[in-house]
């Protein structure tokens, strides 16, 4: 049982963290090495792969024409879905999305939506009738912790890499023309997750650290250093001052990642 292994590891990890050390010799505030590749799936309108240490996430973007929501007739539609693919971890099972994959999708969605990353006004073909629908599908291929940050990063990277069809309207009919245009992207939110282990905050937790953490907090930071989405998770709590500390860490880390990626 996983819980038996966790008990043994729990002590080891807690002691390490109390001494500002970690299983993989990182500092508490260090991110794992991040690798980013764009355009890896030719069939998709946009795609990206993110490697965060051993965690691997692929995001594919598909774009279709559809109807806008009744309350936003002048905006395109964003839909985020996440699949915890069974090959990625012994804990993932086939079947309809469980609460973990739904939460993951909704966190990724919130970061993109609230930062207004996509210029949805430019996705309108006929106001109230026809718009482009952007499907963001998050595919987790290997789970070694911090799926949230890896998925959020891969999603934005894939959107930046997305091309959509050129079209013209002739006699009230939409005709697809040759060539492509870039999906209009305005912001590049970056999500940073901290786990609380004991009274310390640990950035970019490993799977084993997640198994022993008290709670986690994920904070999305936009291009202007503002917070645009937050999600606390896990069965523990944070003191208010730890929340504010996490926000500062998130801002700092997001800036580092942004600089490195030149976003």
């Amino acid at each position: 049982m996983a819980s038996v292994m966790t008990r043994v590891k729990q002590k080891q990890i807690a002691e390490l963290v109390a001494n500002e050390k970690r299983l993989d010799n990182r500092k508490l505030s260090d991110y794992r090495e991040t690798k980013l590749e764009q355009g890896i799936i030719e069939r998709a309108e946009g795609s990206a792969r993110v490697l965060l240490g051993k965690t691997e996430v692929v995001v594919g973007i598909k774009i279709e024409m559809g109807e806008p929501f009744a309350d936003t007739p002048n905006e395109g539609v964003l839909t985020v879905n996440a699949e915890l693919v069974p090959l990625a971890s012994p804990r993932f099972e086939p079947g309809p999305p469980d609460e973990n994959s739904i939460e993951l999708a909704r966190i990724v969605d919130r970061g993109i939506r609230e930062s207004k990353a996509i210029d949805t006004a430019k996705l309108v073909i006929e106001p109230g009738k026809k718009v482009f629908v952007v499907f963001v599908d998050v595919y987790v291929l290997n789970h070694d912790g911090n799926l949230i940050d890896a998925s959020a990063l891969a999603a934005v990277a894939a959107l930046m890499n997305t091309k959509m069809a050129n079209y013209e309207i002739k006699d009230g009919e939409v005709k697809i023309k040759t060539g492509y245009q870039q999906l209009p992207i305005k912001k590049h939110p970056i999500t940073v997750t901290c786990a609380r282990i004991g009274d310390k905050l640990v950035v970019d937790p490993l799977l084993e650290e997640e198994q022993v953490m008290d709670a986690r907090i994920s904070i999305a930071i936009d291009d202007d250093d503002n917070i645009c989405a937050i999600q606390k998770g896990g069965s523990g709590y944070f003191e208010p001052k730890q929340v504010f500390e996490a926000a500062k860490i998130a801002k700092e880390k997001a800036n580092q990642i942004r600089k490195k990626l030149n976003w």
């Binding site: 907090i217 709590y237 926000a247």
Partner: protein, 253 residues
């Protein structure tokens, strides 16, 4: 369709419903409202009307979910089809699945889970009418229902949101402020332990604004906390009075 109001805060600094920025909506709390449940509570906060019921600790179903060293807490947040303007399908939406998860995680730190190994505690939340801030009101009611059920707890959990509308940080957003405003920060707190058990945010806030929103939400939580304790007292004082009366009658006989 509801028209978007142009201003959410008027010249006097008052909100659409006449509240000051740091003012809560009227809150009404009641415990022991469902006779079948082991614990229950009802909350009205603004136009929110929410029921919470607790069953357990009881046998785990399905059995393979049982844990050898602690109880399993299950939580279901559900909105009635008639609780919102446009009928909501009764099937659980993705939003409801996520909220059920974060509400459960906001309650777990308060419960002595290890007291009841191989059991399950069910928390059911039904939103009868929604008016913005249902997740917070649900947590406030669910924690009361748990306390009413007699499960040993470290503290009550109480939740309240703060946010930003028209460049002002405000407490306890109602429906329109939630939808049209620029940010919403729901916070759940165990006041005696100074522990934040739920924290979410959407919208745009600077780090400074975020800090003041969280601090304001915590102040709101503390106000509702007093009412929560009052609601519990009201029930148990009335039970005590009843017993007294009975004892007196018996003595007289």
């Amino acid at each position: 369709m509801n028209e978007k109001p142009e201003k959410l805060i008027d010249k006097k600094g008052l909100r659409l419903d006449g509240r000051k920025p740091d003012e809560l909506r009227p809150v009404k709390l009641q415990v022991d409202v469902i006779t079948n449940a082991d614990g229950s509570a009802y909350i009205e906060q603004g136009k929110n009307k929410i029921l919470a019921g607790v069953y357990g600790p009881r046998e785990v179903h399905p059995k393979h979910l049982a844990l050898q060293d602690r109880t399993v807490l299950k939580c279901r947040y559900h909105m009635a089809p008639f609780s919102v303007q446009e009928r909501k399908s009764p099937a659980p939406s993705r939003r409801e699945v996520e909220l059920s998860k974060v509400i459960r995680e906001s309650l777990e730190p308060a419960i002595f889970m290890e007291y009841y190994p191989r059991t399950m505690i069910d928390v059911y939340v039904e939103v009868l009418q929604a008016d913005g801030g249902t997740r917070c009101a649900s947590i406030t009611a669910a924690a009361l229902a748990l306390a009413d059920s007699g499960v040993p707890m470290r503290d009550l959990v109480v939740a309240c949101a703060a946010g930003k509308v028209d460049d002002t940080i405000v407490l306890d957003l109602m429906d329109t402020e939630d939808k049209v405003g620029s940010a919403d920060v729901p916070v759940a707190l165990m006041p005696n332990l100074n522990a934040v058990t739920l924290l979410q945010m959407d919208g745009i806030l600077s780090l400074e604004e975020f800090e003041s929103a969280v601090n304001l939400a915590i102040e709101g939580c503390k106000q509702i906390y007093t009412m929560q304790k009052e609601a519990l007292k009201t029930k148990y004082v009335s039970v005590k009075e009843e017993n007294k009366e009975e004892n007196k009658e018996e003595a007289e006989e």
